[in-house]
């Protein structure tokens, strides 16, 4: 793979994102809204209690700050609409007529948007940590940080592959709105964006460890908080295998389905 080519694709995508200042500043405020709402809710629920499912109010707030940040890192969910529309409207030709791999293009664009979000949202996270005087956001050891970063990275690649697969389904089904929305809601719940998965019954939690969504936000956030350390290595292997599977499935679907292009607008 020619990296400068894909770096240039990512860079131009990032410059295009920066064309609108209002959108840039709105993006920076997103983590604040989610964390403030969660804080107000959990403060009420913690009234008179020290811990809930092993979380103190401080770790719970730190959990929401971390998952708000991690959730923003996956930018491919929004890109599905753009690529599916390109396929439906016959504009996908712009990727096929140039010497680029369309999935490489998708990944490069996603990576650039993620870097952009890190730039915008990291400042918000630091500010939130300062506002809440939350010391739990500083993990105790380096191995926790490295495991969390590696698992979160593989989780992002997994989500990119899953969303690529969703986008290319537009060749088959044309409109993938319903499927994509249902998938999005399920992923948000299973990834622990709404609630820490530790609140679920043990049996359900055990089952979830076999699926990839557990490793997208919940486990990396837990590791950063010094929790679930014993799951770090097995988690890395599990999400790694799921990511390889999703990459292969996405590539297979793309090769099969692009041949069904009926050339909209021809």
């Amino acid at each position: 793979m020619n990296l400068p080519k894909y770096a240039a694709i990512g860079a131009i995508g990032m410059r295009a994102r920066m064309a609108y200042r209002f959108d840039v500043w709105l993006g920076a405020t997103m983590p604040f809204i989610r964390v403030l709402l969660a804080y107000m809710l959990w403060k009420a629920l913690f009234a008179g209690k020290e811990t809930i499912a092993g979380f103190t109010l401080e770790t719970m707030t730190a959990y929401y700050i971390l998952t708000a940040f991690l959730a923003r890192l996956d930018q491919t969910n929004g890109m599905v609409w753009e690529y599916a529309e390109d396929i439906r409207e016959g504009r996908f030709a712009k990727y096929l007529a140039k010497p680029v791999n369309p999935f490489g293009h998708f990944l490069a664009t996603a990576a650039a948007r993620t870097l952009y979000v890190i730039g915008i949202a990291l400042g918000s996270v630091i500010l939130l940590a300062f506002l809440f005087r939350n010391s739990r956001l500083l993990p105790a050891n380096l191995s926790d940080i490295l495991y969390a970063a590696a698992i979160a990275f593989l989780g992002l690649v997994f989500m990119a592959s899953l969303n690529w697969l969703t986008a290319v389904l537009a060749w088959k089904f044309k409109d993938i709105t319903g499927f994509h929305m249902i998938k999005g809601n399920i992923v948000e719940f299973l990834a622990g964006t709404f609630l820490p998965l530790a609140l679920l019954p043990d049996g359900v939690l055990h089952l979830m460890r076999w699926f990839p969504f557990y490793y997208i936000q919940y486990l990396p956030a837990s590791l950063m908080l010094g929790m679930n350390r014993e799951e770090a290595f097995s988690g890395l292997i599990t999400i790694g295998l799921w990511t390889i599977g999703a990459l292969l499935l996405g590539e297979w679907a793309w090769r099969i389905l692009r041949r069904q292009d009926e050339g909209a607008g021809a």
Binding site: I9, I12, A93, K94, L96, A97, K98, V100, E262, A266
Partner: protein
């Protein structure tokens, strides 16, 4: 050596059909009917390096389908394709580096950024060396005279300016073959002329093979040394525009300005069609062989201030060919 070889190429689209109204929508939820639309049928084509070929035909004739098949964007139903020595559908990078496609109604430029950003992106995508990139960019900027527009966001450019940028973006990597799908659509006369001159220059100076579709006969007349007429997915004519016109431009347009108004009693020879009749002006269409007869008849019947005799408009000729279908070539 042929740069494009197409043999018995056919493309059939599967088009979903749905009855109108709410009932039709409900029915389609359960069972969707599909209509087969033949876009191309047993199409054969051979294009040599350096040719400038014009594809003309009415809407839905199969022109854009042919371009998309040649680029590898869509797959054929049957038949074989060889473009630059490759099978287009395989989308090999070595193949895609050697051609460019410009679709008049679909942009490759980044809307919110200056065109120069897209050019720089293409430099990386096609691996264009910096020196060659600068040389080509300067050459095209000079040809179009648009250096001051390179840093203006694409969304702020006029349609004509955008098309010039599209062409530049497509040509920076020195493609051997360019597909142009209606490159002058919607442009004013000045911009159309500039783009035609540019394409002619590129074809002549760089020996770039160009295959273009257009609805504007002026594009074909000024640019193409070979014209292919396509209708309902079949090739109807392949040759020079001059030969086509010699064969089918059998009529002359005669415009007469009268000194005095003529009434309805003007007698015109058989075979002459009156396209427009005003008190002081007549617009007639007459077979070439009857021009002399018509002039004699008019001189006898009315006083004329001016008379103009021209070949029939090419657009009308082509329209007649489309309408007549294949029998005109039989």
């Amino acid at each position: 050596m042929s740069i494009i070889q197409v043999t018995n190429l056919s493309k059939i689209y599967q088009r979903p059909v749905k009855e109108p109204g709410f009932k039709g929508s409900l029915k389609a939820l359960v069972k969707r009917s599909v209509l087969q639309k033949k876009a191309l049928t047993d199409f054969n084509l051979r294009v040599e390096e350096g040719e400038l070929v014009g594809l003309i035909g009415p809407n839905g004739a199969g022109k854009t389908t042919l371009v998309k098949l040649l680029c590898g964007i869509i797959q054929p139903t049957s038949g074989s394709l060889d473009v630059l020595g490759f099978k287009p559908g395989e989308l090999k990078d070595a193949f895609r580096r050697q051609y460019a496609v410009v679709m008049g109604q679909k942009s490759q430029l980044w809307w919110d950024l200056p065109a120069l950003d897209t050019f720089r992106l293409n430099k990386e995508i096609y691996g264009i060396p910096e020196e060659k990139f600068k040389k080509n960019l300067h050459e095209y900027v000079d040809l179009f005279g648009i250096s001051e527009l390179l840093q203006v966001p694409v969304r702020n450019l006029s349609l004509g300016e955008r098309m010039k940028m599209e062409l530049m973006a497509a040509l920076l990597h020195d493609p051997r073959l360019i597909f142009l799908d209606e490159p002058t659509i919607g442009l004013d006369a000045i911009a159309q002329k500039q783009i035609r001159l540019f394409l002619k220059e590129i074809n002549t100076r760089r020996q770039v093979t160009i295959l273009m579709t257009s609805h504007y006969m002026d594009d074909i007349r000024h640019l193409c040394n070979r014209t292919i007429v396509i209708n309902e997915g079949e090739k109807m004519y392949d040759g020079s525009l001059e030969n086509l016109l010699t064969r089918f431009q059998g009529q002359r347009d005669v415009q007469v300005i009268l000194s005095e108004p003529v009434g309805l009693g003007l007698n015109l020879p058989d075979g002459v069609t009156c396209r427009e009749r005003q008190p002081y002006r007549l617009h007639l269409q007459v077979p070439r062989s009857q021009v002399k007869e018509l002039l004699s008849s008019l001189l006898l019947q009315c006083e004329m201030d001016d008379i103009r005799i021209e070949d029939e408009e090419i657009g009308n000729v082509i329209e007649r060919i489309y309408r007549s279908g294949r029998e005109v070539f039989a």
